[in-house]
C-alpha cells in the first residue's frame, strides 16, 4: 500500500466518522426540537385550561333570566371577562394544529356566549345558551387536561 493510498483511506475513514457524528447530532437536535414543540404544546394547553377555569367561575355568575338580575351584578363586565379568557385560550391553540378539536369546542362556546349576550340585550334570554356554554367550557377543560396527560405519557 502506497503512502497516497494510506492518506486516501485515512481521509475516507475520518470523513465517515465525521458524517456519523454529524448524523448523530442532527438526530439529537431533531429530538430536542420535537421535545420543545411538545413542551410548548403542553404549556399552551395548561395555560388555556387555567383561563377556562376562570371563565367557568364567571359563567356561574351569569343570570339565567333578565327579570331578576340582582342589584350590583354587572353582567356586561362579566361577559367581557369571559370573552377575554376565551380570546386568550383561542390564541394559544393552533387553528390547524393537533389540538384543533379543543379549539372547535371553544369556538362553539364563544358562539353560545355571543348568543347569550344577544338574548340579554334583547330581553329574550334562552336559558339553554347558558347551560350549553357551561357544558362546552367544561368539555374544553376536560379535553385539555386529558391531552396534557397523554403528552406526559401518563395516559
Amino acid at each position: 500500500m502506497t503512502s497516497d493510498s494510506i492518506i486516501t483511506l485515512t481521509g475516507t475513514i475520518v470523513t465517515i466518522i465525521a458524517t456519523i457524528i454529524t448524523i448523530y447530532y442532527a438526530q439529537q437536535a431533531k429530538n430536542y426540537k420535537e421535545q420543545i414543540k411538545l413542551d410548548i404544546r403542553k404549556i399552551n394547553l395548561s395555560g388555556s385550561s387555567e383561563r377556562l377555569k376562570r371563565a367557568q367561575d364567571d359563567i356561574r355568575k351569569l343570570p339565567t333570566s333578565t327579570k331578576n338580575i340582582p342589584r350590583g351584578i354587572k353582567v356586561p363586565e362579566i361577559i367581557s371577562n369571559i370573552k377575554s379568557q376565551f380570546d386568550f385560550s383561542l390564541g394559544t391553540i393552533d387553528k390547524d394544529g393537533l389540538d384543533q378539536d379543543i379549539r372547535k369546542v371553544l369556538s362553539k362556546a364563544q358562539k353560545k356566549l355571543n348568543s347569550y349576550e344577544l338574548g340579554l340585550n334583547s330581553h329574550s334570554l334562552n336559558p339553554s345558551d347558558l347551560h350549553d356554554l357551561q357544558s362546552l367550557v367544561q368539555d374544553a377543560i376536560s379535553q385539555s387536561n386529558s391531552r396534557i396527560f397523554v403528552l406526559e405519557g401518563k395516559a
Binding site: P70, G72, I73, I78
Partner: protein, 123 residues
C-alpha cells in the same frame, strides 16, 4: 284570636325562621343568609344596595373615596359594628354583587387587611 295568641304565633314563627336560617348554606346563598341573620326586610336590603350603589358610582367616575365614610354610613344605617360591616361586604362580594366596592373597601385596609378579606384582595 286575641293579642296573646298573635304574639305567641309570631314568636313561634321567629323561632322557626331562625332555625331555618341555620340550615342555609351561606357559601351558596350568601345574601339570603345575610338577610336572615340581619333580620332584614326588602327595604333594608335595598338601603344597603343604595349605599353600595353610591360608592360604585363614585368608583365609576374615579372619584376619590373615603372608605371610613362608607363604613360609617353602613354602621349608622343599620346600627351595626365593624364586624357586621365586614359580613355585609363579604356576602355581597361572594354573591358577585358590587364587587368593585367590596374590593375597594377591602383594599383600604392594606397592608393590614383582615384575614376574612383575603379572598377579596387576593382575587
Amino acid at each position: 284570636m286575641n293579642i296573646d295568641d298573635i304574639i305567641e304565633k309570631i314568636n313561634k314563627l321567629e323561632y322557626q325562621v331562625s332555625t331555618l336560617s341555620e340550615c342555609i348554606d351561606s357559601d351558596r346563598y350568601p345574601v339570603q343568609s345575610l338577610i336572615l341573620s340581619m333580620s332584614w326586610n326588602n327595604d333594608q336590603l335595598n338601603k344597603a344596595h343604595d349605599i353600595f350603589q353610591v360608592y360604585d358610582e363614585k368608583l365609576e367616575i374615579k372619584e376619590e373615596i373615603n372608605w371610613t365614610e362608607f363604613e360609617g354610613r353602613l354602621k349608622d344605617e343599620f346600627s351595626i359594628g365593624y364586624q357586621t360591616v365586614k359580613s355585609i361586604v363579604l356576602a355581597f362580594y361572594n354573591n358577585h354583587q358590587w364587587v368593585d366596592v367590596c374590593y375597594g373597601y377591602a383594599m383600604s385596609f392594606e397592608p393590614t387587611t383582615p384575614i376574612e378579606f383575603h379572598s377579596i384582595t387576593r382575587r
